[in-house]
Amino acid sequence: MATISVGGKDIEVDEEGYLVNLSDWSKEVAAFLAGQDELELSDAHWEIIDFLREYYDEYQIAPAVRVLTKAVGKKVGKDKGNSKYLYELFPYGPGKQACRFAGLPKPTGCI
């Protein structure tokens, strides 16, 4: 099992870089994981990451991209509820990449 070191703490990640224990997550961890993809997290990123964490907290799953897109449109504004906007923020895929930053498992059904 691989580990990453954030703020002097060793944290376990799986072979694809997702956190093994959801409880290890913090904003610093999210920023570190984004750094691995050479991304700096803006407020727009955080809006999606926070949304994903709330969704997981309520339903115990990471939403499929289709569901995420629709839900973001409803929650944070119609102009943001489209894949173009989400892919601009998370070029490796809003489901895959944003869930990793959010400390969640890979979305169910995501390859």
Binding site: Y55, E58, Y59, Q60, I61, P63, A64, R66, V67, K70, A71, K74, T108, G109
Partner: protein, 137 residues
Amino acid sequence: MSEGVIKKFMYVNRKPPYGTVYALESLEVVLIGAAFDQDVSLAFIGDGVYQLTAGQSTGGIGMKNFSPTYNALGDYDITKLYVEKESLEERGLAIDDLMEVVYEDEDEDYAEKPSIRLVSRAELADIMAEQDVLLNF
């Protein structure tokens, strides 16, 4: 999204939620399969009705309580959860013992509507007869 024939798929859940992996596997297949835009419904019969009971707590068995996920099904356009009345009664349960599962109706300004539909054994048999595909878990 995709064009083509839309078939009626019913996932039939017959087992209690924990102890075997059937219930969780069924739910995951439902979520994955939702990407194909088919006409999907779920049926809960026999011990399967326990999957929807309210107030599930899995701390003692060290398993994840996945029951909140049934409330995400509406987001995946899955809004028909048939529960067999006789199965509930045979177990001393009633509809009030089940958790509330709702979906938002986009055509009615996102009004919340119940997804659980209580049906008799005979009614469920008729609904099953209308399906193109039945998947048993």
